[in-house]
């Protein structure tokens, strides 16, 4: 709750205690830090659905390397699709890998991004980790 400006916490507590004690209610009053954020981040809940895309020139070992990083961070892969493009001569040159993943509870998102980013650039690829809701929001007409 919000107390009138300038009213000390102990006065609030005393007033509440006086009314509520007869009902057997114990009162405690603590000032909220003015900067407390309103809602916790959702990424740490179990199995938050993310999508990881990896795009660039095709080469051996892409999937093996990137899934190794994912496994090391406890990321569960629930779907994988690959799209390739070809040169006019019919040789596969570029690939786009789309991983649908679930992040473990308490995942360290910045660390995961850094690890994935390092692996991607070491292979000459461009990667992007995004919560799945953004794709659903853009391509579906169901409510957010």
């Amino acid at each position: 709750g919000a107390a009138p400006e300038g009213l000390p916490a102990q006065d609030v507590r005393a007033a509440l205690a006086a009314s509520l004690a007869p009902m057997g209610v114990v009162v405690s009053v603590k000032p909220l830090a003015a900067s407390a954020p309103a809602a916790p981040a959702r990424e740490d809940e179990p199995g938050e659905p993310f999508v990881y895309t990896l795009r660039g020139p095709d080469r051996l070992g892409l999937i093996a390397s990137i899934t190794g990083v994912m496994a090391a961070h406890g990321v569960n892969i629930v779907g994988l699709a690959a799209t390739t493009s070809e040169t006019p001569e019919g040789k596969v040159d570029r690939v786009a890998l789309v991983f649908q993943v679930a992040l473990p509870q308490g995942a360290d998102l910045p660390a995961l991004r850094q690890a994935l980013g390092g692996c991607a650039s070491s292979m000459g690829m461009e990667g992007s980790l995004q919560h799945r809701d953004i794709f659903e929001a853009m391509h579906r007409i169901s409510p957010l």
Binding site: A41, T53, V98, Q100, L109, Q130, M138, H139
Partner: protein, 460 residues
């Protein structure tokens, strides 16, 4: 089930087509900051902005990273200062402007809008003080944006205020001559100003808005352009027809996707900060970057340049299709919500102005069918105040008669003539100085008074 095509098209929009959230703007009401003294007022304003905006930038960055979408700008809009600080004189208003500037800098936002007055029917004391303070406030601060609403469809046009604003703009330009008259780039004169615009320089938090609110503006002219190009190519490849009916559909569907980005980010930032979500402004807002241009869309639509014959019709279609797609995408659409045509802020529009294809006459016509007005238009430094006022009066008339928002953000660049160049830097861009039409309306402006509200405003 998400298809990989959907995922990859989104990624391409974000990485290759300049899709981003152009601004998340936190509105902060300052009506409860009134105090006996200027210093107490400024202290309350400062404390309130810091308290409410403390987590704005980190929340936007974190939520942006979660979805892989950059929130390019975080901004603040406040209650119209002429009203919120009505007891202040001009010096007090300047002090308030400096307070706003400092608070904006310290919480990490690049612009703060709301140093504003609403004078469509007449001026009150606070309005006069703010107008007196404007040139100095704009010269002495870097992040504060100002707006003055001089007309509305309900009230008509306050021609005294229109006359005054021509002089204010000249004074603001003179005081910021060293930066090319940059003070004027932070000042907009409006008809029918919306009270929830997230974009600068016209953002302010209106009366009737909640104590704090999040409004969001996305941007995707590059996405719309690429979608049109792909549709044209695909139709050609398959031997299918591609007419303006199809073009309008493509724009509408693309606008839906672009606006959804703003909706999801805006709602989550609002929730994280514990404030209500206000509106998504679905405008196509360009930046001076290749591929992020509204002007380029005109080329795909078959015009040689923006400003060529056909531009008004093309813009009408674009503006309308954007509104239709965006309206379906968001729970609450507001702000300006259309297509912007700012001359210096769009590489292609600036180029069309330089080549002479785009003139002030054509820009004026186009403002009748888009959601802004004459925006970021550099004109010769010796343009008389009365001419600036007459240009404003014309724009206001378009807005008032057509029940839409129009505005003027014009910069008379001191010491420069038509054909020379000016650069404002950053997002404000650069451009050639555009010639002003010949002839004078000084006598007309000299009459002053009020142009009455149009007949169609009698809706009671």
């Amino acid at each position: 089930m998400l298809t990989e095509r959907e995922v990859l098209s989104t990624v391409e929009m974000l990485k290759g087509e300049h899709l981003d959230v152009r601004t998340v703007t936190l509105g902060v009401s300052l009506f409860d900051c009134q105090a006996e003294s200027t210093s107490a007022l400024c202290a309350r304003i400062d404390a309130k902005i810091r308290r409410l905006a403390e987590h704005l930038v980190p929340a936007c960055d974190e939520i942006g990273a979660k979805y892989g979408i950059e929130v390019v700008n975080k901004r603040i809009s406040v209650s119209p200062i002429a009203v919120a600080c009505a007891g202040q004189d001009a010096d007090g208003m300047v002090a308030v402007a400096k307070t706003l500037d400092r608070a904006a800098r310290d919480v990490g936002v690049d612009f703060l809008g709301g140093f504003s007055a609403l004078v469509e029917k007449g001026m009150a004391e606070g309005d006069r003080a703010l107008l007196d303070a404007l040139p100095e406030a704009l010269a002495e601060t870097g992040r504060v944006c100002a707006s003055v609403n001089v007309a509305s469809s309900k009230a008509g046009i306050n021609m005294d205020a229109v006359a005054r604003m021509g002089r204010v703009i000249k004074a603001a330009a003179e005081r910021t001559a060293a930066s090319g008259g940059m003070g004027c780039a932070k000042l907009v004169v409006f008809a029918n100003i919306p009270q929830d615009v997230p974009f600068m320089a016209g953002a302010y938090l209106g009366v009737g808005e909640p104590g704090a609110v999040i409004n969001v503006g996305v941007s995707g002219p590059g996405v719309v352009k690429r979608a049109l190009e792909r549709a044209v190519e695909r139709a050609a490849r398959r031997g299918e027809p591609f007419s303006l009916s199809e073009a309008s559909e493509v724009i509408k569907r693309t606008a839906y996707k672009v606006t959804r980005v703003g909706e999801i980010i805006g709602r989550e930032v609002a929730s994280r900060l514990g404030v209500p979500f206000g509106v998504a402004d679905l405008s196509l807002a360009p930046t001076p970057t290749v591929g992020d241009s509204v002007g380029e869309i005109f080329k795909v639509l078959g015009l040689s340049d923006i400003g060529a014959p056909g531009s008004t019709a093309a813009l009408a279609m674009l503006n309308d299709a954007v509104k239709k797609g965006g309206a379906f995408a968001s729970s609450h659409v507001g702000g300006l919500s259309g297509a912007f045509i700012p001359v210096s802020e769009d590489l292609d529009i600036a180029r069309a102005a330089e080549s002479g294809v785009l003139t002030l006459h054509k820009l004026e016509a186009m403002t009748a069918v888009c959601s802004v007005g004459l925006d970021m238009v550099p004109v010769p430094g010796d343009t008389p105040a009365e001419t600036l006022s007459a240009i404003i009066a014309d724009e206001m008339a378009i807005g008032v008669i057509n029940s839409k928002t129009t505005a003027v953000r014009v910069i008379p660049v001191p010491g420069k003539a038509a054909g020379e160049r000016v650069s404002f830097g950053g997002l404000l861009g650069e451009s050639v100085i555009m010639p002003v039409p010949a002839g004078s309306g000084a006598g007309f402006i000299g009459f002053g008074g009020r142009i009455p509200a149009p007949l169609h405003s009698l809706k009671n």
